[in-house]
Amino acid sequence: MSSTTAVFRVEWRKLAAQPRLRAGFAVLLIAPWLFIALVLHQDRLPVETLYGRYLKDSGFATPLVVLVFSTQWIFPLIASLISGDVFSSEDAHGTWKTVLTRSVSRGEMFWGKVAAAFTATVAAVVVLGTSATLAGVALVGSQPLVNVGGVLVPARSALGHVALSWLVVLPPVLAFAALAIAVSILTRSSVLGVLVPVVIGLVMQMYVFLNAWDTVRHVLLNSPMNAWRGLFDTPAYTDPLERGLLVALAYLAASIAISLIAFHRRDITGG
């Protein structure tokens, strides 16, 4: 137990020491401000994006538009950039033998690393969501927002809905992270660990754009990624959210199970 915590803290320190990750967080912090500043500077609005038409009317539209964009490819990218590397970087540096000859079992190593990857992923989502909300409120204001039911929602309640929407995308985002972990454990390659989940995310996204069999789409991670939309309708509905959570949990559980088994069985021969 305490060893898992030790691994978690070590991973956290290693993540923080990597300039790549710090740069990534800086981008997440700044990008929403740039985005809304550019929108305010222009006459036209992205009206063909959900909530795009309200960007100048209420600051709460900013985090929702950013959320719509993020569910398409930013979240898969964030999840795999962080998680696709946490295991395979040890292969790249040949350091498995270094850390696994200390007083940490494979199980503790696994869970500590998974916990660190998930925490960093959640932190990235929280940073982006918070930054987008602050940018919207600071540069546009905290006016009431029209929801997808055509109802004007007061600021306080709109803020609550924004927070809830960003919260419920976490399970599918973590499912992507778990997918990245599985790929990076199976291939032992950081490049593939990052690339494969992003490609999977893009393929899923392309399938959504295709007008193809809807049932397949229900079991893709896009469904849970977009299930928040129903929460901000009048009346609100939660069917997609409930089903989507099951889908996300299935991806999560399958990926983690495969990863755990593969990690326990592997021989550390490199390095």
Binding site: G149, V208, N211, R229, Y237
Partner: protein, 150 residues
């Protein structure tokens, strides 16, 4: 255990998949129902923006057809809807809207004619009329599965 049960265990999910696979997410019933409800709310907003004492309109209904799908009114893409409503003075309106439906159960609606129409708000500013463009979402798992072209 019933001798058939292993086969049933396999068949039931497959059958469910096939049946639900035949029911599209984007159906005429869902689009019509949601556009009607959302338009009614947007109308109320339009009145409120102008700070008028609310003149209640009656939205009689909406007829929508898929522009892409020639065999059934189903599937995402550009749809066309006609919203029929009666204003407080009794005038009947049939307004055409282009409705861009995505595959995840949300859409953007744009009025055919008055796309950039504005109304004057209480403080004298010209603001976009909430009636002529709006977003909406509907539950793709509800019971409104009708896709008839008629």
């Amino acid at each position: 255990m019933h001798p058939l049960s292993p086969r049933l265990l396999f068949l039931v999910p497959v059958a469910t998949l096939l049946v639900s696979g035949c029911t599209p997410d984007t159906t005429r019933d869902r689009v019509e129902h949601d556009v009607t409800a959302t338009f009614a709310n947007q109308y109320v907003q339009s009145e409120q923006v102008q700070s008028q004492p609310l003149r209640p309109a009656q939205v009689r209904g909406t007829e929508c057809h898929s522009g892409l799908n020639k065999t059934a009114d189903a599937g995402p893409g550009a749809w066309h809807c006609t919203i029929s409503w009666t204003d407080p003075a009794g005038g009947r309106h049939d307004d055409g809207y282009v409705v861009l439906v995505d595959s995840l159960g949300c859409y953007q609606a744009f009025s055919d004619e008055e796309r950039d129409a504005t109304v004057r708000s209480a403080d004298g500013l010209a603001v976009p009329d909430p009636r002529v463009g709006f977003d909406g979402c509907y539950d793709v798992y509800d019971g409104r599965t009708g896709t008839s072209k008629a």
